[in-house]
Symmetry: C2
Subunit: 518 residues, 2 copies
């Protein structure tokens, strides 16, 4: 095989095809202009569906057979249950029983609870995974053991890929905490309530066949209908579709680490000094101890100033819900609930709004609202001196994380990465990141416990902060400081084999990940 490689706009060598399909190398932010039309699903007719609306079939196996499961198909699932999902493993066990081969699994993300799927990856039931691989499945891929190449997309990129027909889903299986027999479904009610089902929206709209599985079947109408039964082919009632207690992402406690607390406080101070925390502002802060702490600091500043935020982006959690309930935030626009307080609030509070990758993140729409955020707080495993950042691989080269909404959020007005200068004595700021997930031009501020670096492209911020008492440094100074303490980090070593591609929000390929050399 002599695959040709092309250098993309961030200097990475991209093969001209992946999994036998041609790829477009990343061309720069906003440079690639899509041509053509959205994917057009086949026209259905009510004449082919039960007039009384009852689409129940006895079990998942029968539903998959009715949906015509066969070799080579693409099967999708959502990850609103995060590490509490009970459906994906079940699907591929059934596929194996049926002797199906070479499936593509298209989850919105995969988690350690799905480790048993390694069996189907090994025995040929599954060809490859297109989607984030958190933990063991990523390690499996990094060792070069997956038959095909993994394809990682952001939440918005996943919607874009389905909308544009880059990925055609044959069968979508949507685990739903509540549903009716017509297929209307939601995530806010029922014993397995996980919040919302936005990650399954594209799947419902564009998949050829859609199966809803639920453990809480209610009489029509299932309200709210986050998923419309009008897109659904079959409904399956089963024991338990997910474990809602396991939707927790990262930690649910604010950090107790003095370094992390310092980073959080510096981040909040920076935002205040630079004038971002003003009445009607908006912010996004994810889960994780540092991010939660930043939210708490924001709350203190807002109380002191007597102002409120117009909206905050979730993943929601009890801290954000508390701010909503105390009137510090007018709306939560939530993409996934990260704890049960988030679920409750979304169910009961009309100002806690469920969103989807379509509304929030789809780059191939007529705008999306990621760009409207005043302050965006994100993480990274590595950042380079050009502010390029990595969120998927560790410095040892293993692919252990997904992209989530990270790439999409980079379009916010002020993107801040509050990160430690080093982890386990390995510097986080480096000459070059192992994997580029986001181009530096979109990353504005790096906050570490030993200083804050502002992207030189943001002259406005540099000007505003030139008399600040905060430790404003260059990114090179931060890098050198880390290296003085930890030494120059070694680059990870790789084999030649490509094990995963990292898509940009527009469907182009920004980087690839290779097999780890062991």
């Amino acid at each position: 095989m002599s695959v040709k490689f092309i250098e993309n706009a961030v200097g990475r060598m991209i093969p001209e095809e992946i999994n036998g399909k041609p790829v477009i190398p990343f061309m720069g932010v906003g440079k690639y202009k899509p041509e053509g039309r959205k994917f057009a699903p086949e026209i259905s007719t009510c004449a082919d569906y039960p007039l009384d609306g009852n689409k129940l079939v006895p079990n998942l196996k029968e539903a998959l057979i009715k949906a015509g499961i066969k070799d080579g198909m693409t099967i999708s699932t959502h990850h609103h249950f995060r590490n509490g999902d009970l459906i994906a493993v079940e699907i591929f066990k059934i596929a194996q029983e049926l002797g199906i081969k070479d499936l593509v699994w298209y989850p919105s993300a995969s988690f350690p609870c799905q480790k048993p799927i390694i069996e189907q990856l090994e025995n040929g039931t599954i060809h490859h995974i297109e989607g984030s691989m958190n933990g063991p499945l990523g390690r499996f891929a990094s060792l070069g053991k997956m038959k095909g190449v993994g394809v990682l997309r952001s939440h918005g990129g996943r919607y874009q890929a389905v909308q544009d027909g880059d990925v055609q889903i044959d069968i979508a299986v949507i685990a739903a905490p509540t549903a009716d027999s017509f297929g209307n479904a939601n995530g806010v009610e029922g014993p397995s309530a996980c919040g919302l089902l936005g990650f399954a929206l594209a799947d419902s709209q564009y998949a050829d066949k859609v199966i809803v599985v639920t453990d809480n079947l209610v009489d029509f109408p299932c309200i709210p209908w986050q998923i419309h039964g009008n897109y659904v082919d079959y409904v399956v009632q089963m024991g338990q579709v997910g474990i809602p207690e396991k939707i927790i992402s990262g930690t649910t406690q604010i950090t107790k680490s003095p370094d992390r607390l310092l980073i959080a406080e510096m981040t909040a101070k920076f935002c205040e000094e630079v004038g971002l925390i003003k009445d009607g502002f908006s912010f996004q802060a994810g889960a994780g101890g540092t991010a939660l702490s930043i939210g708490v600091f924001f709350g203190e500043i807002m109380r002191r100033k007597g102002i409120k935020a117009r909206f905050a982006r979730g993943g929601s959690n009890k801290y954000l819900v508390d701010m909503l309930e105390k009137g510090l935030v007018e709306y939560i626009l939530d993409g996934q609930t990260f704890d049960l307080d988030g679920v409750r609030s979304m169910r009961d509070n009309p100002h806690h709004v469920n969103t989807s990758p379509f509304t929030s993140y789809n780059y191939h729409g007529k705008g999306n609202f990621a760009g409207l955020l005043d302050i965006v707080i994100l993480g990274a495993t590595e950042v380079d001196v050009n502010f390029n950042a990595n969120v998927v691989t560790h410095s040892d080269g293993y692919l252990l994380h997904g992209i989530g909404g990270w790439q999409n959020c980079l379009f916010g007005k002020n993107v801040i990465l509050p990160i430690p200068l080093f982890r386990d004595r390995i510097p986080v700021i480096r000459d070059e990141v192992t994997t580029i997930c986001g181009p530096g031009e979109l990353i504005d501020i790096i906050v570490t416990e030993r200083g804050i670096a502002i992207n030189p492209l943001r002259k406005d911020l540099l000007d505003k902060m030139k008399n600040s008492k905060l430790p404003i440094k260059t990114i090179h100074e931060l890098k050198e400081e880390a290296e003085r303490i930890c030494g120059k980090p070694k680059a990870a070593e790789f084999e030649e084999k490509i094990i995963a591609a990292i898509k940009w929000v527009d469907g182009t390929v920004i980087d690839v990940v290779k097999q780890v050399k062991i």
Copy 2:
């Protein structure tokens, strides 16, 4: 011109093309199976839209110019303001100013307030109207004065036509009582609140360019976002987009006519005797004095029996809202609010759910919920002895009404037409209806003040009612009774020219309307 005509499945002669496009004659209920794929709009990119989400343009004229308005385009509007719309007339005045010709106007319905558009129909700015024509525009068409042929579709058929690409909307103009500058919009808030915007859903999803006009611009996010800004190109702020007091449909009072009251009471008694009014049942009753009275009778029966309905379909009004608030109805699934009590309830009550023609009525979906209704109450201008019914023309041949959701509702489990035996001494039950809008096989029961006719296809109902004290008669008996009183009605007389086509829910043509002979 020698256009060929083909006889369709209800015996009507259908031309092989209309407005230069080929047509498929009605083939029978559920017989036409669509092939091919849904319409695929062009892929957009955020790179072409303002990153800060602000899509405001100074005025409607500029928005139309930016949207590329030109000769022959299809422009759509919604009718949630019903007779209080202020936008459609404005659009076509601007088009005339700009010297644009041969537009197709694709409203979800047109009303007497839009009578001034006759000017643009006469001067060639508009070629024809595809949509219901209530009142003067219908009369104008009936006189043979419209350049092209009107095309009437049900609410569901309109969604189907857009989804399937039968009609391609170039520019959709969506009047919104509340919107933000990103284009998110709703109908429940603001001084012009009209309830919901469901009739504009297809337009937002599939139109090439989408303009939102509002008189209540709010900061992002406009919640609820019944229309997603992610589909919107331009936002225009203007003085007043509609007069909410004019959303009233038919009458808002229960009937005082003794005959109509009798019909209403007989309808309710019939439903009770035949066993349809039971705990958890569902019903649809529109506006109009008789329908409102039936709702009141239903309420009395439910109170007496101590039962409640699982859901009721709107058009909502104060009577239905009262039933919801008193706990007689668990959910209102509402397609359009018919009074300001409906608007308030939809805004404040999560059990008053806004629906769209997609969820309720689209025949080319994976089911819709029209078929789930236990009792459907509809009107008709005429019914024939085979239970075929007409809702668009009067017996004098004039096209004065739209189809609304009427055809879609025919898929309900028990479809009842409570109608007077005659109007202005013209019998309503006839050998043949002037225009067939719905095939008799879907119409189950005709209730008149002088008797109830059950469709012979419903042997189950005939059996259940065979010992009833209600005046069960054959439809022929009813017709003869009317003719004994009023004499045999004359058929309307027509010229040869076809002035409108009546689409069935699947896009086939069930009948045509010809120019009235005067």
